[in-house]
């Protein structure tokens, strides 16, 4: 069974203090790894797709990287508005039509203190 483990569960950073979030996975034949951001009381918002080891994607202060066993979400000089829960997910199954069925990790709750 595919497994996705995120660490740490929670992270408090001072504004401007860079850090990384980890997502480790055990899947057979990775078809992609996806990062989402979720604000309290909202649905997840798609951030990145990574398909192969060595791939990197960037968006503002966020950079996602992928190895054969884990992915990192690097946050550079975070601001309070970056506070959210960050979720990673992998495809669990594909029916041959439509989108992937995703297995999500439990997420990392990031708090950025001014």
């Amino acid at each position: 069974e595919d497994q996705v483990t995120q660490s740490p569960e929670a992270l408090r950073l001072q504004e401007g203090e860079s850090s990384s979030l980890n997502c480790s996975y055990t899947v057979s034949g990775l078809r992609g790894l996806f990062w989402y951001r979720q604000d309290p009381g909202k649905g997840p918002e798609f951030l990145f797709t990574l398909y192969s080891a060595g791939e990197e994607k960037e968006k503002e202060r966020l950079k996602a990287t992928l190895t054969k066993k884990e992915s990192f979400l690097h946050i550079t000089a975070p601001k309070p508005e970056d506070s959210a829960t960050y979720l990673c997910a992998v495809p669990d199954a594909y029916s041959g039509a439509g989108s992937y069925q995703l297995t999500f990790g439990k997420g990392t709750k990031l708090s950025v203190i001014p």
């Binding site: 996705v4 078809r31 992609g32 996806f34 009381g41 909202k42 649905g43 997840p44 918002e45 798609f46 797709t49 979720l87 997910a89 495809p91 669990d92 199954a93 594909y94 029916s95 041959g96 039509a97 439509g98 989108s99 992937y100 069925q101 995703l102 297995t103 999500f104 990790g105 439990k106 997420g107």
Partner: protein
């Protein structure tokens, strides 16, 4: 452009009752998925519909059912509610195939007393 819309946003039910949750996908999106998110956990896959056909079902009991209508909107039904069904129910739509880029609605918060 309107995003994924879900209704109702909040509801309270008692054990044994049933509930119907509704979802309208983004215009042009033919794939709709339902996820359950319990507090402190990541979303868990329940159902996927594509072109009005069920294309996937997660590890949920038969009390959970869903359908997709000709206009691609969808309903999730849960019968014989249990306390453990209390959760945020998320609907997501997507444009194409072979994608993990899902567009989520804000969810329906169900509380079972």
């Amino acid at each position: 452009d309107a995003g994924v819309t879900q209704s109702p946003t909040h509801l309270i039910k008692t054990r044994g009752q049933h509930v119907t949750l509704r979802c309208s996908p983004i215009s042009g999106h033919k794939s709709v998925s339902w996820y359950q998110q319990v507090l402190g956990q990541g979303p868990q896959f329940i159902f996927q519909y594509y072109e009005k056909e069920e294309r996937g079902r997660g590890n949920f009991p038969d009390r959970f059912s869903a359908r997709q209508f000709p206009n691609y909107s969808s309903e999730l039904n849960v019968n014989a509610l249990l306390l453990g069904d209390s959760a945020l129910y998320l609907c997501a739509s997507s444009l194409g195939r072979l994608t993990g880029e899902l567009f989520f609605g804000e969810g329906s918060r169900l509380t079972v007393l």
